[in-house]
Point group: C2
Chain length 385, copies 2
Amino acid sequence: MLLFEFATTHLYQLKSSCPGTKARRGSLNTDHGTIETPIFMPVGTHGTVKAVTQEQLRSDIKAQIILGNTYHLYLRPGTDIISMAGGLHTFNGWDRPILTDSGGYQVFSLSNNRKLHERGAEFKSHLDGSAHLFTPENVVDIQRALGSDIMMVLDECPPYPSDHSYAKTSMELTHRWALRGRKAFLETQERYGHRQHQFGIVQGCTFGDLRRDSAKAIADMDFEGNAIGGLSVGEPTDILYEMTDFTTDHLPAHKARYLMGVGTPQNLLECVARGIDMFDCVMPTRNARNGMLFTRNGSINLRNSKWKTVFESADPGFESELCQEYSLAYLHHLFRCQEILGLTLASVHNLQFYVWLMQQIRDRLDAGDFHTWYPGMVERVGRKI
Amino acid sequence: MLLFEFATTHLYQLKSSCPGTKARRGSLNTDHGTIETPIFMPVGTHGTVKAVTQEQLRSDIKAQIILGNTYHLYLRPGTDIISMAGGLHTFNGWDRPILTDSGGYQVFSLSNNRKLHERGAEFKSHLDGSAHLFTPENVVDIQRALGSDIMMVLDECPPYPSDHSYAKTSMELTHRWALRGRKAFLETQERYGHRQHQFGIVQGCTFGDLRRDSAKAIADMDFEGNAIGGLSVGEPTDILYEMTDFTTDHLPAHKARYLMGVGTPQNLLECVARGIDMFDCVMPTRNARNGMLFTRNGSINLRNSKWKTVFESADPGFESELCQEYSLAYLHHLFRCQEILGLTLASVHNLQFYVWLMQQIRDRLDAGDFHTWYPGMVERVGRKI
């Protein structure tokens, strides 16, 4: 009885729609708080967003939700340790919502160290070569132990390019796994007293007919939300946009839509316009560690020696410690000396920028002029300074 | 006229003395603020305290003063860049006092890549092998360009062990350099409108007669403060304490005494008791990056697998983000995964601990019971948990 109630809880609330695009303003109601959408979710692979303290994540970045990677957490510290801690929220001290992926994407990235069966995905740990098996059922169990607010089903993420035949075979396996994963979810209970929700994943590579079939099949399984996987894996940007646009046409309006692993600031703007509510990507933090800053006027490569004597802020009016307190010359110096402070300041700044951008998007949706505002913003944030 | 005024400015004010030890309570009056002594100064080699943001340094750690290394800053970003920025305070955004060393210690650490002359120390950069010369005069010029509140004279820091004959020859060179450095300081002006002060450095290795002679010689040169160099270079701890105790007997009471490169929490307590006012050391930050935490109950090695399932704080009552928000199990996990967050949390925590310890010392000196309190504290913080 209780299980059925959980399965039909309305996680997503659609508040308004953009009059000129497919953009949506909504919210996600979780037991760890309400998430205003569209939203960007910082990635915390090992239960930590790289180079950022939880205090910076809460107070400076104002993240509403973070991600954890099931593959990494399953291997280290291990599901047993996180269970003993009372779940990932208790383990890492993050008391706002957490989404965990299914581990599928990481396993498929292991290429030579994994084998695919009907039953699941066999793989060897990148850490010690030990053998493991992920099944649609046990990744539900693992995510029950992690206690994420939103968990993902196991899927196969085929590479780009894939031919139609492989893409179809792979998609069909993903659908069978999704059914098994949904069943496992409905037959198990949350462990820490807060609700968990499960999202299905649409696949189909770059083929419109497969994306349509997959969207319908996944939507029919009645997950609490629907994700689009298998994009941003090397395909041209116009195909990313086309597939996203096409897929959201076949997803129900009353559930959240999550575009996995996307993307640049321009990608976020363009895909919000195509009906996406949720994003995650390592780009703001990974690029930060490579000295790349996102700003309101375009991106900056801090390693470029042209900044050596530029004693000005990267973006004087922007509210980040990096912009308010340090010059480009100092930041260039930090990256030249490989100082950890450079990694930290750039990581916090880039996440603040992504969160700021999503807030702008929500504000424009609330004001009703997102559709006239976003093309200029795409051009502006896409510049290279 | 102005130069003479600067030279005789009273930097240090002795407020009270401990009735049972040689410990002193005082303050240093700089143009970037008053520093309460005894004090520990976090080391910011490249103009950044490793893994710590300036905001954390100000708000969480509450550092009163930080160090910069002349050798490193001279090579990167270079004195010219810092001059163009308007000094180190402007370059790195730290508006409280800064002390810079003379570069001597780093040059002498290069062993095979440096040559000692009467004129100065020739060395090859550890970065690109380029040839450079530090003289007692040009390290004053460089530190004028850096704009540190307190600068150090060039000295030779002989290794441990050294024989008496080498130690004496080296000490005499240090004294000749100190005279030249003092002259250069008095003949040059500050560049950024705030006062700079110069400290002499006592050498003499582990020989009491040389330490006494050196203390008297350096004291006679009338620097604004006196430092003890050449200790904490590998000698046994009892010799460090003995030499410190012996040297402070021969230093004037109305000037600050700075023990360079020291040390453990126990070292700080013991050397305050022997009349030291100022300390610097990379230990809190370097050990933090190796997973070693200092706490009020002793030190903790976070890499030890015994913490894997300990879901408790390292020191529940201590006011650091690390102690207030994370368990030992989570911190162990961060170090195992080589996550930057581990380095940051441990670095901030260890500096908070050092600053806290110095505050305790000052409080006990103000209360008049430092001498009865500190032996128990030495025992307590010296434990291994």
